[in-house]
């Protein structure tokens, strides 16, 4: 019987406003449907270039985030002890006066005593600039513990990279290799793209220790051992070189693979690229003519080349046939025929070899042969050879030709675009290891060998990238007369002179970023701030100012210890080690408990924001794009947008740029005014769209007072298409570079040379070898010399390496990965129950799972530790919570209120663990009691859990007996932010030695049974600070 009353024409609401989602870092366009002033429904904006109308679980649950009972409602001043959650509500005037007093004192005394770290900030174009105006070098967001290895390796290699800097060619690729990609960053574009690939029949390969999400729909799952991706990629390279399946023409056109590297061991120029007097890189080229197009500006007559010398390659007897047919020429010249192997003599007699030769020698060596890496990677040699073959077949035998004319940077016209339809994408699974920088560089070189950077069907840059590799902006390291830093606090160091170190070469930043310990720490090292500050290492700070960084919980490594340190007092003075903590958050998170002053932020639906091309772009490969958030509802609490508060504080402090000549606030109307009026350079502001007084200009133009209205009319985004001729080969495409220069994305239209050979790294290695005015302290010399290798290489985790005696660390080789020891447990047949069926798991070689029993004593400490902790432990966040900070959402928590420890059934059997047992997970740091769940989609030597579902009692307005608080857990408690002390020296960060990326995924564990496995309850038992088992 039909409904008695059924109205099918009820309007969704009475008003629709567009804005940008902030439920994760993806930044989709949303439509917020309002009914009587309340949010009724949020859906995806169908016109938005990021999500094209789709919306993820987090996005839809945004309504419950907005109405969360955990929202803060008033500024708070601590009245109890730190951590007790005892506060007094205060008025904003009092709160801002107090903050101004603390910060003003610091600025007068020493601006570096402010550590300003902004977590998952999407307004770094403002917050970084604010820190610069304040004058502190101690600023960063959360990239140091997220994926800086990906970003830095990309920037130093390609002048771009994965995620925000590039993407697979979703429309044309035929083969997508996902490395360590969980259901994470760029969530909706990746999902939209995977759907397209599937519909088109493209093959998807997931290289990941865990098969969930994207791995589940991949054609092939490669359950690799964590931290060995660089070795697997190296084996692919080995195979491609062995079978001569590489795009050498691509290498000499777009990379520096043919550039000559000076070979002068012990000399100050060893390993640098040979250059002429004008600084042009040199190469050896075949033939006598370096014909160039007439009118080419940098076209000296052949005889005018200072480095020129006609000669033969070093070890070739070719005189009987061709005579002296080789010349040393400008490597960037057009229409030359470069040589990529051989040994050559420069005009001044120095010897040099093409970078490619050094690369080929390294990767053709047996260490990278598939048979050599099987044990470490846990991938069979047959699978490695087959996958390498598939890469080559797709790139070369299924090449794409687009009938699209384009003009290269030499002015040569091409009738078509050749595409190598192999795309790669990598993310945190690669990044979060102490070998992540070199692993990511290995991936990029693998892409280059396939000719698969910014061609049809391959990885593609997203504007404003590519930029020069590395980008030009260096971190600020000195204060001007007005107290402001001479540049933004984050950037890219190019040479030792750019480091932020003192006269003794010691770190100046509180996190030790940009020091000899972590020279390329482009995103800072938030994970080390609290421990360093409490150890006065390298110096004390007065105020820790945090914005949406949950350092009292899941954003901290070593969480329990970090929580203790936040409350630690200096015995001498009785004061807290960190005297002041100011925290801004919209929600009552774990970190609120440790703040002295809490500045309550709005929700993302109550504010202006700016998704700026100066910060983290949302462009795609065919267009530049930026976006805003606009307030769609008015706060019903006494809260203020953090960015408004920051501008207000800046004005109260009288910071340069934040007050006018009379001392009045420059931006009294807050962030909305700043977004429109602030200019970083003449005509360049936070938003690129509708610039100029009449809004007619793109990229560069005077501020437009109506700019925000124009954005709002257009769905809160701006989208500017690249001309068709400029959409591929962007690094050397005149059509693209002209377009990009007009928008202010690049400073010149000269080609961007891909750094196959990273000369920048060699400059640091040379310093470590005793050259130049800036050299590392003795303690860091060997480390810098080793890890600043201009060609990528693979090494086991730093923790393992540093634990080894020196004779175990080979110069060129690596410490063998897990399972290479000869103890009984690794011999086939000892544990028959653990043998895997090759049928069910074709790419993985049949081999036993490591036994939990410690192996017999071994002379090397590293090997002993490996045997004692035979499993890798990693985390990921589920798609419905990824990067979704801010609350425990009423709907999302119904999907998962707690986490488990997942392990392969064979691993469980080997450890006598049943599904649902409570067990102890033990690392050198201590042990945690967790509940096990069997999961066939887990590599047998790996255990894993969903991260950040566990919460701390008292936060988020969850009931005390909520499963998040009772049964949920963080793996963070087992992960030290520092490596163990060795040889009586101060501890180093548990981080990549190049970039400072937190090495979360280097964690090794073992399983211990609990006598009462059925008794529920999570517990944490740790060794005292600074010690391990």
């Amino acid at each position: 019987m039909p409904h008695v009353h059924l109205d099918l024409n009820i309007p969704t609401g009475d008003e629709v406003k567009t804005t940008t989602c902030y439920m994760c870092a993806c930044r989709c366009g949303i439509r917020v449907h309002l009914k009587e002033g309340r949010v009724r429904y949020i859906d995806g904006n169908p016109k938005h270039p990021v999500n094209r109308g789709v919306i993820c679980a987090k996005g839809s649950a945004g309504i419950m985030q907005h109405y969360s009972p955990a929202r803060l409602s008033k500024p708070l001043l601590r009245v109890g002890e730190r951590g007790e959650r005892k506060f007094r509500e205060i008025e904003w005037d009092e709160a801002l006066a107090l903050a101004t007093q603390w910060l003003g004192d610091i600025r007068a005394r020493d601006p570096d005593q402010l550590a300003f770290f902004t977590g998952r900030d999407q307004s770094q174009a403002l917050t970084g600039w604010w820190a610069q105006q304040f004058g502190t070098i101690n600023y960063a967001a959360h990239g140091g513990f997220c994926s800086v290895n990906m970003a830095a390796a990309g920037m130093y290699t390609l002048g771009g990279g994965f995620w925000e800097f590039g993407e697979p060619d979703w429309d044309l690729t035929k083969y997508l290799m996902l490395w360590g990609v969980a259901e994470d960053h760029d969530s909706n574009p990746i999902k939209l793209g995977l759907g397209k690939l599937k519909a088109r029949g493209a093959k998807i390969v997931s290289i990941n220790p865990v098969r969930t999400g994207y791995g589940a729909i991949a054609d092939e799952w490669v359950p690799i051992n964590p931290g060995t991706d660089g070795l697997l990629a190296g084996a692919f390279i080995h195979e491609l070189l062995r079978t001569d399946r590489v795009d050498l023409d691509y290498l000499v056109r777009y990379t520096n693979a043919h550039h000559l590297v000076i070979r002068a061991p012990g000399a100050a120029d060893d390993g640098l690229i040979a250059r002429d007097l004008e600084g042009n890189a040199l190469c050896a080229a075949r033939g006598l003519s370096t014909s160039r197009r007439p009118g080419e500006s940098r076209d000296p007559a052949p005889s005018a080349l200072p480095g020129e010398k006609t000669l033969e390659p070093g070890f070739r007897r070719d005189d009987e046939k061709e005579g002296p047919a080789y010349r040393i020429v400008d490597a960037t010249a057009a229409d030359i025929t470069p040589l990529i192997v051989g040994e050559y003599t420069l005009a001044d007699g120095r010897s040099a070899v093409p970078a490619f030769q050094l690369f080929a020698e390294r990767f053709m060596a047996d260490e990278y042969a598939p048979d050599s890496v099987v044990e470490a990677c846990g991938v069979s040699a047959e699978a490695i050879r087959r996958l390498a073959r598939e890469l080559a077949e797709t790139a070369f035998d299924q090449a794409i030709t687009l009938p699209q004319r384009w003009t290269d940077t030499h002015g040569r016209e091409h009738a078509e675009m050749i595409g190598r339809p192999v795309a790669m994408h990598a993310m945190r699974g690669i990044a979060a290891h102490s070998n992540g920088f070199h692993t990511c560089r290995t991936l990029h070189l693998l892409q280059m060998l396939l000719g698969a950077i910014d061609t049809p069907g391959s990885f593609r840059y997203q504007p404003p990238y590519p930029k020069s590799a590395p980008p030009a902006n260096r971190p600020g390291n000195a204060r001007k007369s007005n107290g402001a830093l001479n540049a933004g606090p984050l950037g890219y160091v190019h040479a030792p002179e750019d480091l932020i170190v003192d006269a003794d070469g010691k770190p100046r930043r509180i996190d030790k970023a940009f020091s000899w310990e972590h020279p390329f720490a482009a995103h800072g090292m938030l994970q080390n701030v609290i421990a360093n500050a409490c150890a006065d290492d390298p110096h004390r700070i007065d105020t820790l100012f945090l914005f949406m960084a949950n350092m009292g919980w899941n954003s901290a490594m070593n969480t329990t210890e970090t929580r203790r340190l936040l409350c630690e007092r200096d015995p001498a003075s009785g004061d807290y080690r960190i005297p002041h903590i100011i925290y801004s958050d919209a929600y009552d998170s774990e970190t609120v408990a440790f703040a002295d002053l809490v500045l309550p932020d709005t929700t993302y639906l109550e504010r202006h924001d700016c998704i700026s091309l100066l910060d983290r772009p949302i462009s795609d490969a065919d267009c530049a794009a930026d976006a805003i958030r606009q307030p769609v509802v008015t706060p019903d609490r006494d809260v203020r947008p953090f960015q408004d508060v920051l501008l207000d504080l800046g004005a109260r402090l009288g910071l340069p740029g934040l007050v006018d000549a009379s001392g009045a606030a420059e931006y009294p109307r807050g962030y909305a005014q700043y977004i429109v009026e602030h200019e970083r350079a003449p005509g360049v502001g936070l938003l690129a769209g509708w610039r100029g007084a009449d809004g007619a200009q793109a990229g560069i133009g005077a501020p437009n007072p109506a700019q925000l209205e124009r954005y709002a009319e257009n769905g809160c985004y701006w989208h500017y298409e690249i001309p068709a001729a400029g959409r591929y080969y962007k690094m050397a495409n005149r059509d693209y570079l002209d377009w990009a220069k007009a928008l202010g994305f690049v400073g010149s239209t000269r080609p961007i040379v891909l750094e196959f050979y990273a000369e920048t790294l060699q400059r640091f290695r040379l310093a470590a070898q005793g050259h130049g005015a800036m050299q590392p302290p003795e303690r860091d010399r060997a480390r810098v010399a080793r890890y600043f290798d201009p060609l990528p290489f693979w090494y086991a985790s730093l923790d393992e390496i540093e634990a080894l005696s020196p004779d175990k660390v080979g110069g060129e080789g690596w410490v063998r990965g897990r399972g290479s020891n000869d103890d009984e447990s690794s011999k086939p047949g000892v544990n028959p129950a653990m043998a895997l069926s090759p049928d069910s798991n074709p790419v993985r070689p049949p081999r036993p799972v490591p036994s939990p029993q410690p192996s017999p004593p071994s002379p090397a400490m590293g090997e002993r530790e490996r045997a004692a902790y035979p499993l890798c432990a990693i985390t990921q966040r589920p798609m419905f919570m990824y990067h979704s900070w801010g609350s425990q959402n009423k709907w999302l928590r119904q999907i998962a209120t707690r986490n488990y420890l997942y392990l392969h059934p064979d691993t469980a059997a080997a450890n006598n663990v049943d599904d649902g047992d409570w067990i102890w997970l033990v690392s050198p740091r201590g042990r945690i009691r967790v509940q096990a769940k069997l999961h066939a989609g887990t590599a047998p030597e790996t255990v894993w859990t969903w991260n950040a579902i566990g919460k701390h009692k008292g936060a988020w307005k969850l009931a005390a007996n909520a499963p998040e608080n009772v049964d949920g857990f963080l793996l963070n408690d087992l992960i030290d932010e520092s490596l163990p002390a060795r040889g009586g020296e101060a501890r180093r960060a548990n981080a990549d030695p190049v970039t400072g990326q937190a090495a979360w995924f280097d964690l090794r564990v073992r399983i211990e049974r609990d006598a009462d496995a059925q008794l529920p309850g999570h517990r944490i038992e740790l060794h005292p600070h600074g010690t391990r088992a």
């Binding site: 019987m1 039909p2 409904h3 008695v4 059924l6 099918l8 024409n9 009820i10 429904y41 109308g53 789709v54 919306i55 993820c56 679980a57 839809s60 649950a61 309504i63 259901e183 939209l192 995977l194 759907g195 599937k198 969930t212 994207y214 589940a216 729909i217 991949a218 062995r242 079978t243 001569d244 000499v252 056109r253 043919h258 075949r286 070739r316 030359i336 025929t337 470069p338 990529i340 192997v341 490619f356 030769q357 080929a360 047959e382 087959r386 049928d839 069910s840 074709p842 790419v843 798609m879 419905f880 425990q888 009423k890 709907w891 119904q894 066939a936 989609g937 009931a959 007996n961 499963p963």
Partner: protein
Amino acid sequence: MTTLPPPSPRKLGLVIDLDICVGCHACAVACKEWNDGGEFGPLPDKDPYGAEPHGVWFNRVHSYSVEQALPDDVTRELTVHFPRSCLHCETPACVTVCPTGASYKRAEDGIVLVDADQCIGCQLCSWACPYGAREFSEQKGTMQKCTLCVDRIYNETLDEADRQPACVMACPTRARHFGDLGDENSAISQLVAERGGYALMPEFEYKPVNRYLPPRPRRDGCDAKPESREPREATLDQDKLPGALRWLDRALSR
């Protein structure tokens, strides 16, 4: 007991592609949000911030490990994500068992609905449905279920492009499709024909309208074909090549 209308030529339903569902729960939450504030809402949540939060959902996503049989006794293990909601059966037992007529099937398009004003909360329909598609709301005392967003798909206050179920609009991999499965020429009927779409548990003979598209064949090592042509490396004698110098004679162009 409630009688069914005569079979309708128009059979609105969903087609869900299990080949590309990544299990992200976007459909489930979009459904919850739309319907919580829509004509059939609210969808109450019990103990939302407590020990056992449990609310009404019209759509839930499950994950399974399954073994796929391949030739030669080889099996392949797959993780399959499986969204589950009302299948809008052609002969639904949940309707025929209803003592009040609250549960009914629309004659015009086959959508199965519950009229909360007539529902007495006896839950017979819940017992009758083998698919677990119905959810009892303790707070309301009535049965709730997927409506195929009937308050969207005919809603003239929405743009025409938006007259689709919320789950279909939300799905980030575009794994969900909506349309008339009674029309063999409709786009989704053709998708079903092309991809071998199947009905869930047809043996119960309730004739589900919704269809699932099975995972496409996977191209992994399990069924790697022998090379159709001679592998390139076989034509090179590796031992005779002098390492990197093999490329010395290569003429490259810049």
